[in-house]
Amino acid sequence: MGTTEGACFHCGEPVPEDTSLFVLRDGQKRPVCCAGCQAVAELIFSSGLGRYYQFRQDLGRKAEQDIQQELEAWQGCDDRESLWGAELADGRRDLLLQTEGIRCAACAWLIRSHLENTGGVHSVQVDTATGYTRIIWSPALSKLSKLASSLMELGYKPHLPLASAEEQGRQTERRDSMKRLGVAGLGMMQVMMYAVGLYAGDAFGIEAAERSFLEWVSLMVTLPVLIYSGRIFFQGAWRSLRAGRPGMDVPVALAISLAFIASCYNFFTGSGEVWFDSVVMFIFFLSLGRHIEMMLRHRNLQAGTALARLLPEWAERITPEGRETVPAGDLEAGDRVLVRVGEGFPADGALVLGATEVDESLLTGESRAVGRREGDKVIAGTINLSQPVEVEVTASGEETTISALGRLLLLAQSRRPEGDAIPQWLVPVFIMVVLTVAGLTWTGWQFIDPGKGFSAMLSVLVASCPCALSLALPVVYAAASHRLLNEGILLTRGQGLEALSRIDTVVFDKTGTLTQGAPELVSIEINPDRKELEANAIVQIAAALESSSAHPIARAFRQAAEKNAAHRQIRVDDIRVHPAAGVEGRIDSRIWKIGKADFVFIAGRSGQDDSIWLADDSGWVARMTLQDSLRQDAQATVGHLRGQHLQMIILSGDSQDAVGQLADRLQISDRHARQSPQMKLEKLEAMRAAGRTVLMVGDGVNDAPVLAAADVSMTVKGGAELANSAADLILTSESLSLIERAIETARRTQQLVRQNLTWAVAYNASVMPLAVLGMLKPWMAALGMSLSSLLVVANASRLVRGSTTERVSESQPALEAETS
């Protein structure tokens, strides 16, 4: 992957002008943006892993300059056996670390190569999709902090081992499914081979002894396959029957078991044909369908893991002996913790020392900072913006507000309606039809030829076994997910596509969805009486005053200042930050103030004024307006969606003014400001009750329950991890035009689903009469079944093939936007 001029060789971010750091490669100097990236790149080259740069598909994660502090925190945990991972029989440990920054297979290779050269590490596996790194290591030869530091040296960020039991469970499920599939596949090959012999025997003659030998071998192979691979269908059928809602497993289990029992009966009494080949073939194709479905499901990250990542992992606890860094989960009510500027609060608590501003957009969606004084409550996961403070913990871990929100999310997810997807009502109908016809066939033959009754009934069950039908949906969704991924959209729940294809309402969350999520300086009004300074100089002064703050407004000023060619660092002395008000400082013996109107010049303006004012000793100099700017293609996307007669609504936690302004620019008349998650949820439920199908596009954590309650949901890049895991689709690039692309793909997917279902149903319906009349031989049914399944798969793969040509012609602008 090429890097452009002036971009960091490792992470691709622009190299600051006053930085001249390089790494040497092939005798050439390659610029890097910071010491962190330099160290990482040098380590990669010196360990002979430089090929990483040639083959990586995405740029590296910007390295952290100072890993020392985090490393010390890890070292504090070296003695905790509970963090070492599951113990293996030989004393080694199986540790699962979620690691940030893994982007492509080259990253996985890099991590593996580097870690496996570290002493005490036995083997390393990296899952590129989920970012999990599994390390088998010996605690006797290495340390936890050593493993963590190896990852950090490469520029990746490991997280404390959390909730790994769930991932372990998923891995077991994946492996079990693969084993079942493999056993069924190998068994199928064998039994089909014997079946060829038997059918050839039917045509050309075969000795009775040989025939029964082949039948006996088929039985011996079918039995273990039935018990091992077919077990899940019996279990599934039993579960669904007990729950009183017969599912697809019921006719499957019935067909498999009846076909097997009848074959055994016929074999032992020597009274007719055997259908062992059909039995194993059903099991194989059905297992294949289940496997594909499971792989899709696993792509969805667990909500719990993502939630845990929102909370800071470490906390600085203040004890009588001094300060110590502990995992945030260890905090208890009554502990005192120090929270520095720019850090998140590790637990719910009350401020006991200091006053600050807090970014609570995580919970409220409000993009402006909120002032907090001594005695005020702070919530875990929100960010401390202006002053270091001390907090007395009132609730931690599971009891925090954010964890409660997570539970709300899980509840909303479980409450999510089934949706009126075609298969949902089709399943019981199909089952009823099959069972009725099978029963009638048996009854009918009792009057004509009782001897043929049982075998004709079996033929009905065999011929109508919904092989193609069970594959019809999973394969199309697998293909759709593949295609969406190529376009930069991650599909986490296949069923979401069905709802997406028939939406009539799109609900946007304003903060960070339609906008960039960070304020930008849009206008400067200079005091008409004080023209000695021009706009540029004012911006430079403002940026200098705000230089030490992590506040989003401060960031906006710094960005505006850096954009300017004449950017220079101004020296400011005696900076004093007044939380929730502003900053003052001295530049060349003049005292400057920047902040809200009442802070800067006492009275005159109302408190409602949202502008930022700059003043010196002799009065105000400039008034600056900040605004959260629209995403580049928001206008075009909204226009396109309107063209498709989709109704658009903005539900935002932001202020009336901000939402109104934005909605006017996008010409969206249906807007609601100051919405709490609860209100959003109610509005959404009201809309759905009115019969609308709603697509929710959001990004904040506070949206997670709302996302889960919509018919289908989407999050944009930069969206908090939790929102991602609640969403059906995740847009992986900044481009909003992906929304239309997703809708288009969903519609095409639905079309293919309908075709596949129509075919599967039509096929089963048309062979059924033949089976009823006893005219369908088992081998014909078996062949027809395979061809029918193949057709369904081939039809689904059209979705993948169709995408490449369209991509070249249509998505050029999107690609350019991504790389720039």
């Binding site: 002979g48 892993l49 430089g50 290779w109 990296v126 493999g182 190998l186 064998q190 192979v221």
Partner: protein, 64 residues
Amino acid sequence: MNMLYVLIPLALMLLGVAVWALVWAIRSGQFDDLESHGWSVVLDDDQKPPPGPGETAEEEEEKP
């Protein structure tokens, strides 16, 4: 004596071996990471890493 009675049991034994090999491979995690191992073929012929784990360990201690 029919060859069928020799060849089919032989095939069945091979089937048993195949199933055992498959289960072993899945258990030992050979199918868990299908991506990065493919890359190692193209990536590994870079200059060789410093030989022996001892040297690598030293180097890491220099760079905390």
